[in-house]
Point group: C2
Chain length 503, copies 2
């Protein structure tokens, strides 16, 4: 049905439209005239035999010469485009799976096949951001039944690659977001792998935060591994900690999350499907889910947490995963570092059993590891927490951590950035409030996560007693300009760390 | 709460992002680093004291020099920007009215105030396209109660300007879309104005079609009038036919329609609110709504039409408008011309009572005019249709049409484009099918609506008996290239006009 009706030559514009495929053409070219200007039109573009659907943006000034077209970075990368490649245009028929979304708007229940068609189209890049937003909204809130959540989860699993393992039991852990500096993953993986269970852990990079787990790990080892390399590492060491983005498990998830975040919506069903589809695709059989509950965490009340727990258990069972849900304290951040290298230092000081290691991080990692062990280890006279504690305290966990790093390509020590600013207490008293969002913003302005060594190192957690002049936190940056910039912002925001005088 | 944290200099890139405000900055500048790259981030941009929220796109190649930033055409126009203007950036807090949309996703009912906040934010440009998509989806389908539709309609009316008239009765008509070439408006306005009723008609331009009513009228007179000018014309002539876009009645409507069209969704509640808010803002007291019912029309069954009729009546009453809903035949297009000038010729031939005037257009215009007259004219022994017929046949409607044109700035005769291609029947028989979408596409490829004289003129409506070699339709274009291009497409699509041999 689609007829190519024009050809232009590509030129690289270098416009990153944040994953939305966009094609830029001149106002005076035929495609414009035939498609209309103001309808958010989508066209099928083809370069060297490969096609995708792109949104049409019009160039009215001189940045495109006659006969030329540009495409966004996402499309450029996807089509493996080069300057002067021919690009042709076809009219695009409405995406058929959008019909299910319209049906959902009218309150119809969607079955597995409907979800599979939608998710496949999303992964293929057939949906524009506004169409994805419509999908998220139609299935948002509590609009999905438990059967629909199961259908969506299965569809997401089947849209990408799957890992398989020779072991009967494959474990994993997941934290339902919302806590800065919560870097338990490397510690938990080391303990569990040392204990002898298979734990092929994949993590994400930061999207809006100053560091993701993958960013943190990357300051110490290689995290960008192929599926083959991952399988080698896990066969040898029982566990790994790699970036999930390089292997395409549940690829729809990243696309949906980006739009969910922009809309600031996080429907229950989609969250369950997001977490469990990644675990299923990774081949997990037993998963511990950590739900921190707190005022500034994602889940705010025990009631909400109970509902999620129910969904995790039922959907997990339907797709063959045994899930154990833990409720934890989400009232304050965990660890002291904010930024990839600084968080890595926290992790290492726990693994090395250093005196001043952050105890909150240590305890949380032990708690999670213990629960994983208890979930699969059915020896009643042995206690998961004792086992985990012994593995960590003895230095075995540290050795396992180093062994995994070596298997992934080697270990390197994380470093401090060279530019540094110390912030001292202006009065004596007790730390009664810490604005985590503002500390995170300072870390980002200082360069994190892009500059791995940049960030904020907090010396005084909640309830610390400080004297006037004591060090509260340090800002680290890799350039003088960024340090200055972070300081400028900090000075404009009073009471990032609130100290109450003791009378 | 928002702190400006950087300043760059503007450069004009001329990128038309189809109304979405976008700001383009270099990957290596601070704003990028602090906001994160992949979160569809929005920032508050300020130029010469005026601010708006824009989506952040990143430039990785050389089209921006260090220290420079670009903005999309919509933002450039909105901020009255010039090259080298300073642009500053602030962090933007989430738009508060989005909370109501999230509540709606959870099934809560929204009151008038909630809708007013949402609509005001949309008109102010605070919503990105994906946020608008979320609003449309959450309120789409049959998700709005009658009270919510009334709230939304009132909010839309109050978001823009309102016209007021000294007359007690102000009439209008509206067609619930879906039929090409349906240019009854100029004829109806002329009849009604001549009859003595006040009919201040505003119309829209084409978005995806080859011509809107405003485009058609523009080939004969000036349609871009200010509110003051409109009031002058109507005071003198009882009626007008102007472009609605130049006066800001229900400004949210155009923004919503653009995204609805891209999603191909058209929720009942939003449609009612869209139509009636425009009428209320225009000061109408009595409105005739034409709902064409047919396979390729917007409304496909009488059942759907009945539901809309109920909504139109109840919501109309709530905002002080008496509505009369008509069901008409939506099975085939009306008139012969497709494209602004060619449609104008149809209108003129009806007004001039020419022998070969398209009778379907004449009859439909008379029917609508008659219903408007009957709605407000309570003399039982007089019949609206007789009155309308008399005004049209006598040439009074034509005279009134010319008088309104003169009042709006003068009349000019629509013209044919100079390049022309005739398409003849390849066999004898009866026309049993016309592919209206493809004819519309040919008209657009030939240059319509941008080239006013371009388009398609159909000679043989459904059921016409044709002989081999008879003229089926003409393609008109203002340039040779466009004509060639339209012909190329036409040749690739067989059976645009399907002829069945008579045996």
């Amino acid at each position: 049905m689609s007829v190519p009706y024009n050809t232009l030559k590509l030129v690289h514009l270098g416009i990153d439209t944040q994953k939305e495929h966009v094609v830029f053409i001149r106002k005076d070219c035929y495609i414009c005239k035939s498609e209309g200007f103001e309808a958010l039109n989508r066209v099928l573009i083809t370069v060297k035999g490969k096609s995708l659907i792109a949104t049409l943006y019009i160039i009215t000034d001189g940045i495109l010469k006659p006969g030329k077209a540009g495409i966004s970075e996402s499309a450029w990368y996807n089509l493996n485009a080069k300057d002067d490649d021919e690009i042709s245009f076809s009219h695009v028929q409405p995406v058929i799976s959008m019909r299910s979304i319209r049906a959902k708007m009218y309150g119809k229940k969607l079955n597995y096949e409907a979800f599979q068609n939608i998710i496949d189209d999303i992964v293929k890049g057939q949906y524009s951001n506004i169409e994805i937003a419509a999908f998220i909204t139609a299935c948002g809130g509590d609009n999905l039944s438990i059967h629909e959540i199961i259908g969506l989860t299965k569809a997401m699993v089947n849209s990408g690659k799957k890992l398989s393992w020779r072991k009967k039991i494959v474990v994993d852990k997941h934290c339902v977001g919302g806590l800065p500096g919560n870097r338990t993953t490397p510690i938990v993986v080391a303990i569990i792998a040392e204990f002898g269970l298979t734990i092929p852990k994949t993590s994400s990079r930061a999207i809006t935060s100053p560091a993701g787990t993958a960013d943190t790990l990357e300051t110490m080892t290689e995290v960008n591994l192929s599926i083959k390399e991952i399988q080698k590492v896990v066969e040898k060491q029982n566990g790994c900690f790699v970036w999930g983005g390089s292997i395409k498990l549940s690829p729809a998830d990243d696309i949906l999350i980006r739009v969910e975040r922009a809309l600031d919506v996080d429907g229950e069903g989609q969250m369950i499907a997001s977490v469990l589809s990644k675990k299923s695709a990774a081949g997990s059989t037993h998963v511990v889910i950590d739900i921190p509950i707190g005022k500034t965490a994602k889940v705010r009340t025990e009631e909400d947490a109970e509902k999620l727990k129910y969904y995790f258990n039922v959907v997990g069972k339907a797709i063959g995963i045994e899930v154990k849900v833990l409720f934890t304290d989400g009232s304050q951040p965990i660890g002291r570092g904010i930024g990839p290298s600084l968080e890595a230092m926290d992790v290492l000081s726990v693994l090395r059993n250093e005196k001043n290691a952050p105890q909150d991080l240590r305890n949380k990692a032990l708690y999670l590891a213990a629960n994983i062990i208890d979930l699969v280890h059915s020896k009643p006279h042995e206690n998961g927490l004792d086992i985990a504690e012994k593995i960590l305290s003895s230095g075995q966990a540290y050795e396992k951590f180093m062994a995994i790093c070596k298997a992934q390509g080697g270990f390197k020590e994380p470093e401090y950035a060279i530019y540094k600013m110390e912030i001292h207490a202006e009065k004596s008293g007790i730390v009664i409030e810490i604005d985590n969002r503002k500390l995170a913003k300072i870390a980002k302005l200082a360069g994190a996560p892009h500059d791995r060594k940049a960030g904020v190192f907090l010396q005084t957690p909640l309830n610390t007693k400080v004297n006037k002049g004591d060090l509260l936190f340090c800002i680290y940056a890799e350039t003088e300009g960024e340090l200055k910039y972070a300081i400028e912002y900090m000075k404009s925001e009073p009471d990032i760390i609130l100290i109450e005088s003791v009378s």
